[in-house]
Amino acid sequence: MSYPSDRKYTKEHEWITADGTIGITHHAQDSLGDIVFVELPKVGAEITAGKTFGTVESVKAVSDLYAPVSGTVTATNEALATAPEQVNKDAHGAWMVKINLKNPAELNALLSAADYEKFVSEEAGH
């Protein structure tokens, strides 16, 4: 799997673009298995870097979504309420929330596509 280089990644397996669109990675959806439920914050909610902002549930388990950076939610992907399996089909297209970044410099601390790919392969090796 190659990860798109137009965005940044977290060790918690989220991605975020420079304009503040957030989703989970291909690796994350693959580990979770069939995704059946996505719970997202409301438009206007404040999310904080490193804190949970929602949950994603597979048949088996519940996982938290962690905010890559801080910001204010401007949109949520409502299609995921009825079609959460979109995340399995196209994790890098099926975005979850869009935010107004509080401090764009926070993006610099995140992983590049190449670093994330390395991180994932190292994690798998353990």
Binding site: G33, D34, V36, F37, K60, H126
Partner: protein, 386 residues
């Protein structure tokens, strides 16, 4: 550090290497390294595996299940003493669902009792309770008021057990055996040659609420791998898929089949679990009977019910159940999306007064109170064949 390294005693079935080779996601379950699901790249994943079993056929490695053989002149008397169903009703080749009980009427484990011969019984038990069950059976057979004239053997490591489940399961297995499976009724067993192996035990049993068979083959790795592959090959025309513990759990939950440590345990009695029809109080004395008689007279404080989520949300094991007014009344024992029914379902213990079908309740999901209601069980019942 991985779980496997942290726990050096984690056990593997003879098919472990095959599962890994197929790309299965592995998890530790009751001390066993088991496949939870197979990869989407080969048409698998919990939902696909679940659907295959409901509509076609799926196969499971259930070699982690244990097997105890009781044989001898007083084998029936011993089985009657240690289990709650009435084994005297079994013809040779017949099986029944039953349970081993503590003197308090709570569960040591649930079991399937197979009568294999005139004085020969095979108990198939859960993986997580293998040693406990065996010790308990052996001790109670030996230390009755006088020991039963009956040998107790632990055969768990002798077999690779493969479950072939789904409406097409019988057609699949029929391709691989000389036994006439059409004459084998549900909860009966037969023996025959399977994949060239002679005298193989095949039971028309399972844990999926679907038709199917469980076969018991020698536990060596080469034989196990060969049979597993042959079953998959023979099942191609039926769309067979390998299935992991994830689908096994959702399938049994739709069918409301109990899971030890969830719906039944050493603190839950037979009446609470709603397993009355498998407990034969009219037969001669058995361990747990006296306590159950007392418990029946007193009445239960909690009872197992089926819940369906009304609002969005998935109830999970251990979540609190609240009454409509928000007072805590019980807890979820197993909860999950139901892939075939396409609903979010759960089993839960609640007081008998709030157990009627249609009762509105709430499940506390991460601080939110989400509406649910009591519904009839089982959630899923397989269609009767014409």
């Amino acid at each position: 550090m991985s779980v496997v390294e942290a726990n050096p005693v984690v056990r593997k079935t003879a098919l472990n290497a095959v599962h890994r080779q197929m790309g299965a996601k592995m998890v530790e379950f009751n001390g066993w390294d088991m496949p939870v699901e197979y990869p989407a790249s080969i048409g698998c994943g919990i939902v696909a595996e679940h659907m295959a079993v409901r509509t076609g056929v799926g196969i499971f490695d259930v070699s982690h299940m244990g097997d105890i053989r009781l044989a001898g002149r007083e084998a029936l008397a011993a089985v009657q003493h240690i289990s709650m169903n009435d084994a005297s009703r079994l013809a040779i080749g017949q099986a029944q669902y039953s349970a081993l009980l503590y003197p308090q009427g709570t569960f040591v484990d649930d079991v399937i009792v197979h009568r294999l011969g005139e004085d020969e019984y095979l108990l198939v038990i859960n993986a997580g309770t293998r040693e406990k069950d065996f010790n308990w059976v052996r001790d109670n057979v030996r230390h009755n008021t006088r020991p039963f004239d009956c040998k107790v053997e632990h055969l768990s490591d002798d077999f690779t057990q493969i479950a072939i489940q789904g409406p097409k399961g019988v057609d699949l297995l029929q391709k691989l055996t000389d036994a006439n499976l059409s004459t084998v009724k549900f909860y009966w067993v037969t023996r025959g040659t399977v994949c060239g192996l002679k005298n193989i035990l095949m039971g028309r049993t399972g844990y999926t609420a679907e038709d199917g068979f469980e076969i018991y083959i020698p536990a060596d790795e080469a034989t196990s791998a060969r049979v597993w592959r042959q079953v998959l090959e023979a099942g191609k025309e039926f769309g067979v898929v390998p299935c992991g513990l994830g689908a096994r759990n959702t399938l049994r939950l739709e069918g409301c089949l109990s899971l030890y440590g969830h719906e039944i345990s050493d603190t839950i009695n037979v009446w609470e679990a709603g397993l009355d029809r498998f407990c034969k109080m009219e037969k001669a004395d058995f361990i747990g009977r006296a306590a159950l008689e007392g418990a029946k007279a007193v009445g239960v404080k909690k009872t197992l019910v089926g819940l369906e989520m009304v609002d969005r949300g998935i109830a999970r094991d251990g979540y609190k159940v609240l009454d409509d007014g928000g007072r805590e009344i019980g807890y979820v024992t197993s909860g999950s999306p139901a892939p075939f029914l396409k609903k979010n379902i759960a089993l839960a213990y609640v007081p008998p007064g709030q157990a009627a079908v249609g009762t509105a309740v709430k499940v506390e999901i991460r601080g939110q109170r989400v509406k649910a209601q009591v519904v009839p069980t089982p959630f899923y019942k397989r269609p009767k064949k014409a």
